[in-house]
C-alpha cells in the first residue's frame, strides 16, 4: 500500500511549497526571456494564449529517454517537475541559482540558438557541476520557447555512477 506513495518523495513538487525564503544575495534569476537578438536564435515571444506546449526530450546517460510536454515560458526545471520525471536530486535549490543539480548538456547548435548567454552567476554554479562541458547550462535558466519543439537535451550522470563497479 505504501509503495507508490513512497515513490513520490523523489520527485519534489517544488511549486507546492510556499515557504520559499527571500533571496538576499546578489544573484538574480532571469525568469523572463530576453526579447531582442538575432535571426538564428530561438524565438522568445511568450504566447499570450499561454498553455502552448512543445515537445522536449530529456536523455539520461544510461539511455533512458523522457519525452515531455513543455509549456512555453516555463524553464526546463519546471518542465521536469511538471512532467513528473524521476531524476534524482534534480533542482535541489529549486531554481534559485544556488546549486548545479539541474545541469543539462545541449547540442552546440541548440546551445548557440538560446537567446541568452549564461550569466556569471549561472557559470559560477556550473563550475561545480560534474561532467561540465562547453555546452552545459542549468535547466532552471533555459526558458522554453515555441521553436524549441523537438529539442533534445542530455542529463549527465553524477560522479557517483561513474564510480559504480
Amino acid at each position: 500500500m505504501s509503495g507508490l506513495a513512497g515513490m513520490r518523495c523523489v520527485v519534489p513538487k517544488f511549486a507546492q511549497f510556499v515557504m520559499r525564503p527571500m533571496a538576499l544575495t546578489t544573484t538574480c534569476i532571469n525568469r523572463k526571456p530576453n526579447i531582442l537578438l538575432g535571426a538564428r536564435r530561438f524565438t522568445t515571444s511568450v504566447s499570450t494564449r499561454a498553455k502552448e506546449t512543445v515537445s522536449i526530450q530529456f536523455v539520461c546517460d544510461d539511455g533512458t529517454k523522457y519525452t515531455t510536454n513543455a509549456k512555453v515560458g516555463d524553464n526546463l526545471l519546471d518542465v521536469v517537475i511538471e512532467n513528473d520525471i524521476d531524476l534524482d536530486g534534480f533542482g535541489a535549490c529549486e531554481g534559485t541559482l544556488a546549486c548545479s543539480t539541474c545541469h543539462l548538456i545541449l547540442e552546440q547548435s541548440d546551445y548557440d540558438k538560446l537567446p541568452q548567454e549564461p550569466t556569471d552567476e549561472e557559470l559560477d554554479m556550473l563550475d561545480l557541476a560534474y561532467g561540465l562541458t562547453d555546452t552545459s547550462r542549468l535547466g532552471c535558466q533555459i526558458i522554453v520557447s515555441k521553436d524549441m519543439d523537438g529539442l533534445v537535451v542530455r542529463v549527465p550522470d553524477g560522479v557517483a555512477d561513474a564510480r559504480e563497479p
Partner: protein, 478 residues
C-alpha cells in the same frame, strides 16, 4: 517527569504504528541512518526509492533535523536551504521515521543498532575541529570558525560562545568557503543580516561589533584557494566593503590560468581582474566602503601573540612555493617571519569526524571512517555516507551524490544477499523507551518549526531559531 511521560506516549505510538504495519511480515528490511543532515536524508531518499518495502529510521542527536543545512549554511544563503523541502517529503514518507534527541554511542550503541537493523548507515558528519597546535592557541578570542558558525546559526552547544567583537581587525586562518562565510557575516551591513534567520542574540553582538578589517590568510598562493567562485564574487560585491588584493600575488597569473580547467580558471581570473584590472563599476562600489577584507598568501601561523589573556596578533612564517605543477605547489617554510596585529583570530582550517564507537575502523590522520565506496571496512552491514566517510570537503552536491551512491550500494548488497534481512526496529525503540530517552518525532519538529517561523515573522525574519535544548524539548513534548 512530565515531558518524559508524554514522550513515552510518542514512542508507544511509534511502536503501535509499527506493529500495525509490519506484524507478521518478516521480510521487511529495517535500516537506520545515524545523523539527519544532507548525507542522511539523501541516503534515506535513495533507499526508500529503490526498495518499496524498506523502512528507514533516521536517528538524530539533536531534537531538530537537517544538520548542517540548519546549522552550517550561512543565514544569508536561504536558497541553499530549499533542500529542506525535499528532506521534509522524505521524512513524511510513511516508511521513514525521524527519531530525534537520540545520541548513538551514548543512548544506544552501534552493536545494539546492528542487532535491530539490516544495515546501519553512519552519516553523522564531521563535527570536530582541526587545530593549529601552535603556542597561544588557547588564549581568549582565538575562536574556531566552526564554533562561530554554530553560534550565529543557533547551534545549542555554541550559543554561549566567548567572543569579543570590540576590536578593529580580525584574522581568519584559512581560505575556504567557511572562512569566506565567516568574513561575510562579520562584514555584511547589519540591516541585511537582520532580515535573515541569523539568531537574534548574535545579531545584537554583531550590531555592536567594531570590526572594520578582516584578513584571510592562506599557507599557499591564489592558485590553491579552496573557496568557490560564487562565494568570492559575493565578497567582491559586498555592500560597503572593499577587497584588498595585493597586485604582486597575481602578477603573471594571467598567463597561467588560461590553460587551467574551467572552474580554477574562472576563479583565478576573477581574483586577477579584481586585483589588477578592476572596472569602473567595481571602483564605484568600493569607493564609499567603510570596511575591507584582505587576502594574504604564503603565510603559516607560528604563534598566537597575546597580552597574557587575549589574542593581540598572529606571528606567521613566510612560505616559499615549490614545484613545477603550479596548481599543486607545496609550501616550504623560510626563516622570514611577519607579525599581523589583530584582536580576534578565527581558525578555519577544516573539520574532522570522530569515532562514535571503538569498534569502528577509523583513519585518524584524515579524521574519517575507513571505508570503500561507503562500505565500512570489515564491518558487515555498516555503511557510511557523506563527510564522515569522504572528509569535510565540497558543496551539498557532493554530499547528495555520495548519499545516493551509498544508498544504491546498500540496496545492491541487499539484493545480492550480502545482508541478512533484520526487522527488529521495535527492539531499538523499546530499548530507548526503557532507558527513558525523550525522543522527538517529525511531528514534534513541525511544532518547533511553526513556533520558530512565527517568532521570526514577528521581527521580520524568516525564522528565529531556538538555541536552547530544554526549550526545544519542551515544545516538542508539550
Amino acid at each position: 517527569m512530565f515531558p518524559q511521560r508524554l514522550c513515552m506516549q510518542h514512542l508507544k505510538q511509534v511502536l503501535k504504528h509499527t506493529v500495525r504495519n509490519y506484524s507478521g511480515s518478516g521480510n521487511i528490511p529495517h535500516v537506520c541512518v545515524v545523523g539527519s543532515g544532507p548525507a542522511g536524508f539523501y541516503t534515506a531518499q535513495q533507499l526508500l526509492k529503490g526498495n518499496n518495502k524498506i523502512h528507514v529510521d533516521i536517528y538524530e542527536k539533536l531534537p531538530v533535523p537537517f544538520g548542517l543545512v540548519r546549522y552550517g549554511v550561512a543565514p544569508d544563503h536561504p536558497e541553499v536551504k530549499n533542500v529542506i523541502n525535499t528532506f521534509t517529503q522524505t521524512a513524511n514518507n510513511e516508511r521513514c521515521t525521524f527519531i530525534g534527541n537520540v545520541c548513538v554511542g551514548q543512548d544506544i550503541s552501534l552493536s545494539e543498532l546492528q542487532k535491530c537493523y539490516t544495515a546501519v548507515i553512519l552519516s553523522y558528519g564531521a563535527e570536530d575541529d582541526r587545530k593549529l597546535n601552535i603556542p597561544g592557541e588557547d588564549v581568549q578570542n582565538v575562536v574556531s570558525a566552526r564554533n562561530f558558525v554554530g553560534w550565529y546559526n543557533g547551534l545549542p552547544e555554541d550559543k554561549n560562545l566567548d567572543i569579543d567583537l570590540d576590536t578593529d581587525v580580525a584574522v581568519i586562518l584559512g581560505v575556504g568557503n567557511v572562512a569566506l562565510d565567516v568574513a561575510r557575516i562579520l562584514l555584511t551591513p547589519i540591516d541585511i543580516l537582520a532580515k535573515t534567520d541569523i539568531t537574534e542574540y548574535s545579531l545584537e553582538r554583531l550590531r555592536k561589533s567594531h570590526i572594520k578589517r578582516v584578513i584571510l590568510v592562506g599557507r599557499r598562493g591564489p592558485l590553491q584557494v579552496a573557496f568557490t567562485i560564487k562565494e568570492l564574487r559575493e565578497m567582491i560585491k559586498l555592500p560597503g566593503c572593499r577587497p584588498v588584493l595585493h597586485t604582486q600575488d597575481y602578477t603573471g597569473l594571467d598567463s597561467i590560468y588560461k590553460d587551467l580547467p574551467r572552474p580554477r580558471k574562472r576563479l583565478t581570473e576573477l581574483m586577477y581582474k579584481t586585483a589588477i584590472t578592476p572596472t569602473e563599476t567595481d571602483y564605484k562600489l568600493w569607493n564609499n566602503a567603510t570596511k575591507e577584507w584582505e587576502l594574504r598568501f604564503r603565510l603559516s601561523p607560528l604563534e598566537i601573540l597575546h597580552d597574557g589573556v587575549k589574542a593581540s596578533g598572529v606571528k606567521f612564517g613566510v612560505n616559499r612555493l615549490e614545484g613545477s605543477d603550479m596548481v599543486n605547489q607545496k609550501c616550504v617554510l623560510t626563516d622570514e617571519t611577519e607579525s599581523v596585529p589583530c584582536g580576534l583570530v578565527l581558525r578555519s582550517i577544516g573539520y574532522r569526524s570522530h569515532q562514535i564507537d571503538s569498534s569502528l575502523p577509523f583513519d585518524v590522520k584524515n579524521g574519517v571512517i575507513d571505508n570503500t565506496r561507503g562500505r565500512v571496512k570489515d564491518m558487515k552491514g555498516i555503511y557510511c555516507s557523506g563527510w564522515v566517510g569522504t572528509g569535510p570537503v565540497g558543496v551539498i552536491l557532493g554530499t547528495m551524490t555520495d548519499g545516493f551512491d551509498v544508498g544504491k550500494t546498500v540496496l545492491k548488497d541487499l539484493d545480492t544477499g550480502l545482508l541478512d534481512t533484520i526487522s527488529n526496529r521495535e527492539d531499538a525503540l523499546q530499548l530507548l523507551q526503557r532507558r527513558g530517552v525523550k525522543t522527538v518525532s517529525f511531528k514534534d519538529w513541525n511544532k518547533i518549526d511553526m513556533i520558530e517561523t512565527t517568532d521570526g515573522e514577528n521581527i521580520g525574519k524568516p525564522r528565529e531559531k531556538i538555541a536552547d535544548i530544554d526549550k526545544l524539548l519542551n515544545i516538542a513534548h508539550a
